[in-house]
Symmetry: C2
Subunit: 256 residues, 2 copies
Amino acid sequence: MRKRPIPEATVARLPVYLRSLLALAEERRTLTVSSEELAGMAGVNAAKVRKDLSYLGSYGTRGVGYDVEYLLYQITRELGLTQDLHAAIVGVGNLGRALASFKGFAERGFRIAALFDVDETVIGTEVAGLTVRDLDELKEFAAEEPLAIGIIATPADGAQEVAERLIDAGVKSILTFASSVVKVPPDIVVRKVDLSIELQILSFYQQRREAISSAREANRVLEGELPGAAGLRTGAAEHAASFDERRAGTLHSDRR
Amino acid sequence: MRKRPIPEATVARLPVYLRSLLALAEERRTLTVSSEELAGMAGVNAAKVRKDLSYLGSYGTRGVGYDVEYLLYQITRELGLTQDLHAAIVGVGNLGRALASFKGFAERGFRIAALFDVDETVIGTEVAGLTVRDLDELKEFAAEEPLAIGIIATPADGAQEVAERLIDAGVKSILTFASSVVKVPPDIVVRKVDLSIELQILSFYQQRREAISSAREANRVLEGELPGAAGLRTGAAEHAASFDERRAGTLHSDRR
DNA sequence: CCGGGCTTGTGACTCTATTCACAAGCGACC
DNA sequence: GGTCGCTTGTGAATAGAGTCACAAGCCCGG
C-alpha cells in the first residue's frame, strides 16, 4: 500500500468525503469520526473509506477514528482546493447560464472568471454578473488571467473546436457537457457529463426491471396464479432471474 | 461470454455508440461500419467496441462489419428507447429550467412531462412550455400519467425528501443533481451528477500536473540548468521535491 | 468453388477496484 | 501497568473492466 498513485476511483470519492466532513465540522458535535460513520454519510462501505483514506497517508487513530478538521485539511490539500482555480464557461445557452449562476462552484473555491460565446446576440449581455465575451477574445483573456478549467456548454458540433481553442489558450482541464466526443492530447484531462446518456442508462435498467416484473408475472402464470395474463412477454424470464440475483442493491455513479 | 449480464461499463457506452451510429445513418454513406471505425467515432478502442457489442448478441458480419441500421435498432431496443419514457423535473431553479429546455432529452425519446417545485413564487409560472406544479401534486399526477424517471434539481437539503416522494409516486429511476447522498431502496436506480465534484476531480489532476512540472523545474535547477530562476517558487519546489521523492518512478508511468 | 484479405467474436491475460477479515495499536478504566 | 473494547490499516481474495491476439468465418475475384 506504500505511497501514492491514488486510484482514479478514490479521487472521485474524495469530494464526497469532503462534503461529509464539512457537514460534521459545521455541527461541531464531533471532533472525530469513524470510517463507519463517514461511510454512512458518504453512502459507501467502511472498508472502502479506510482504504481510500489510507492512500492519503495514515491520518486516523486506531480505536478512535479520524480527526475531522485534520482530515478535512488533508483532503482539501490533496484535491488542490487550497488555491482558488479560475474557470471559464464557453457557451451561454440555457445550460451555460445555469452553470454560471450555480452556487456550488464558489463553495468549493472555483471561480467562474469569464463567459464566452460566439453568438453576437449574446455577446455583451450580462449573465450572473459577468459580461459575455466573444470567444475570439479567449486567448488574450487567458493570457491576462490564467484559466485552469474550461467548461464547454455548447452544442455538440462546436465542442471540438472550443476544446482546441481552450487548449490553445493554455487550459489543461476541461469539463464538457456537449454530447460529442472531444479528442485532446494526452496531457489534457477531460471529463464529460452527458445528460442524455444518463437518462439512457436509467432507461436501460428501467427496461430491465420491466422485463423482470413481467417475467415474474409470467412465472406466476406458470405457477397457476394470475390466470388472466398468459402469453405476454415470455422469454424474459431466465434473463431476469440472473439479473436479480447478481445485482440486488448496487449501482453507483461513475464515470468516470 | 454466453448471454447477458451486460456489464455496467458497457451499458454506459451503448449510448455513445448509438450516437455514432445515428450520425452514420444520417449521412447515408455507409450501410455498414467496422468496429475500428465505430471505435474512432466513439473515442474508445476497437476491441472494446467488439466486446461491448458481443454482449448484445452476434450482430456483426466477419469480414464486413456491422450493419448500421440493424445495430442501431438493437441498441435502441436494448436501452429501452423504443418506448417514450416520461420524466418529471423537481426543482425549477436555474438548473431545473435549463434541463426543462434541454433539447437532447426529446431527441432520445424522453419526454419531460411535468415540472414540480415547492416555492410558491415559482408554482404556476410557465417554464419551457410547462406550468410548474406544486410538489404536493406529484403523486396524483403520477397516478394519471405514469412517470418513469424523476430528475432532482433541488438544493442538497431537499433531495432526500424529494427522492422519497418520487418513489412514493411510483418512480423507479432517479437522476439527481443535488450534491448530497440520496439513499433509496435496492429496487430503485439512482444516478448522480455532481457538478462541483467534477471540478474537484479536475482540480486534483491539475494540481498533480503542477506538482510534477515544478518538480521537473526543481530538478533542472539542481542540475545546474536554469540558473536564473533560483529562489523563485522555493516553497513549491521544496514541496515538489519531497513529492517527487515519495513517488519516484510512478510519475511517468501512470500518465493516462 | 477455391484462396486471399478483412473483420468479427472471444479466450486468455492484465490491470484496477472492491471486499473481506484480522493483526496492530490506541485509549480508557480499573 | 494491564487488559479490554474499539477502530484503523492493510494483506489477501474476489470481482470487474480493459486489452491482446488470433482462430473462425464471410465476401469477392478468379
